[in-house]
Amino acid sequence: MNKDIWIIAEHFENRVRPVTSDLVAFARKMGGEVKAVILGHPVKPLAEDVAQKTGCEVTGIDSPGAAVYNSEVYRNLIKKLCERNQPRYLLVPHTPLGWDFAPALAVDLGYSSISAVTDFNPENSTFIRQILNGKLLEELKSPPGCSAVVTVMPGSANPEPDNTRPPGSVKILEFESPPVKTRTIRYLPAKPGTVNLKDAEVIVAAGRGLKVPERIELIRELASLFKRGAVGASRPLCDQGWLPLEHQVGMTGATVSPKLYLACGISGALQHTMGMKNSSLIVAVNTDRKAPILQVAHFCVNTDLSKFIPVLIKNIRKFRG
């Protein structure tokens, strides 16, 4: 085993995804030699793009089976590469593709498996991750002499701007398609939604703290007071069927950065905050003074939202005349 850190680049519809740069930044923070691996077919243009943008040495794995994502193909081909030259750490983005293959790949390789990390402590070579919806953190380490597959939460490191470094070298390895049991049939793009969270200047977002679905109307009314206001939601609220999924902010939902984000009754698990933490002004309305949302909120109204929001609506109306 050497000291290398490999990152698995993610791409989609012929474009390298920005999370790849997050991963490179995270790996560089860890120290050691950072190399990027990308799978695809044809993979060369993608590999060159990663080398150009990040300055990393890139290995492109070209296989007809990797033309679209398939967990078995990814596991099989990455394993082949690791058997040639075993890295210390294999970093994978904690995304619907990464969390899909990473734990099984760790089993295939006999590596340890650590998921959804947000930080690395170089002093002890430990990883930090959230548990219990962000109420506690835990610190883990891959035992000495044991390589690890680690999934890294998007946004856990600040990437350098693209093309900061001289482009890295590119090596292409060609493999036949491995036999697979799982077949990827087709990709279904998101249905064009009526909710435009990306362009909203103000997002009033609702979470489980609403307690009863009727209070959605309060949220809607507050959002409607702003010219480009929209209603956002946490995942659990959508799962309860109180709002359609197209309102969801955070992992597997929208990533937004409005001028004002009003988080109403949202406890603020990382899955949510990663999608809104770059908003210019974040205000939380929450009865729990220890809710994790306060880690990212600039201001907090520590009051029951069913009492506060009607008063806020009244005052905004009064102010507007």
Binding site: P96, D100, P103, A104, A106, V107, S112, S113, A116, N124, T126, R129, I131, L132, K135, L136, L137, E138, E139, K141, S142, P143, C146, K181, T182, T184, I185, Y187, L188, A190, G193, E201, R208, R228, R235, G241, E246, M251, T252, G253, S280, L281, V283, A284, R289, P292, Q295, A297, H298, F299, C300, V301, N302, T303, K307, F308, V311, L312, I316, F319
Partner: protein, 258 residues
């Protein structure tokens, strides 16, 4: 058809936590434990398959100390046919690798066609156990499943799995297969009185003795700790009217949306 649904007991969402004496996790003193909400969706999907196909036998399996019995009974109340409990010592930390190994041992010779898991557990939020079980059994798997259909010959399951920002992909897997079920795939039911009564009396299969792990392959948990207090967040104080006025002033100072 036989379906295994792996269920986990987790603290209620609103719980407040203290560290346990080992400093590696939370103390379970005074915590109210419930069935992992994500596993409720997995169980409900198995129940829906049984309603659709008939002739389906559902086993709910959990690992953990004696208190875990409560959620296995909950799974029976909701409609699982059998309950099984792999008993672990009190305050025993189980990593995903060790958990997966015990589940694999349980499945041997039982001929499950489908193994269902919730996409993550709400306590440790790792999402590793399901895919690890699949890898150990060399079975195909899909994660974050939001819909499924089973072919008439019961040989294939076609699933939609969730990608980012509303996109999905359709994946086809031969049975037996492992699925981790995403929340929102269905609307979990409430138990019927008859099932409640049945669950109370039903015998659980209890398995003792854990399969030892091969050494050195699992991540080592060093400690758990509270996040640092929030850096800059300011509380807006006062009576309701005063809070609203202050907030409007802040919004006007910091943005141009009002």
């Amino acid at each position: 058809m036989k379906i295994l649904v792996c269920v986990k007991q987790v603290p209620e969402r609103e719980s407040r936590f203290r560290l346990d004496p080992s400093g590696k996790g939370y103390s379970d003193q005074g915590i109210n434990f419930v069935l992992n909400p994500y596993d409720e969706y997995a169980l409900e999907e198995a129940l829906l398959i049984r309603e659709r196909l008939g002739q389906v036998e559902i086993t709910a399996l959990s690992l953990g100390p004696a208190r875990v019995e409560k959620i296995i009974r909950r799974a029976l109340e909701l409609g699982a046919d059998h309950g099984a409990h792999i008993l672990t010592p009190e305050s025993y930390y189980l990593g995903p690798g060790e958990t997966a190994l015990q589940i694999v041992k349980f499945t041997r010779e039982r001929g499950f066609d489908l193994l269902f898991f919730g996409i993550i557990s709400e306590d440790y939020m790792r999402g590793q156990t399901g895919p690890m079980v699949a890898a150990l059994l060399q079975l195909p798997f899909a994660t974050a499943v939001v819909s499924e259909t089973i072919s008439d010959d019961l040989g294939l399951i076609t699933v939609e799995r969730e990608l980012e920002a509303g996109a999905r992909e359709v994946v086809e897997l031969p049975l037996p297969a492992v699925l981790t079920i995403q929340s929102g795939i269905n609307r979990p039911r409430y138990p019927r009185l008859t099932d409640k009564l049945r669950a109370r009396a039903q015998k659980l299969e209890v398995i003792t003795g854990l399969e030892p792990l091969p050494p050195g392959r699992c991540a080592e948990l060093l400690r758990a700790f509270f996040p640092p207090p929030s850096p800059a967040g300011t509380f807006i104080t006062g009576a309701l009217e005063e809070q609203a006025e202050k907030l409007i002033r802040i919004i006007r100072e910091k943005t141009d949306v009002l």
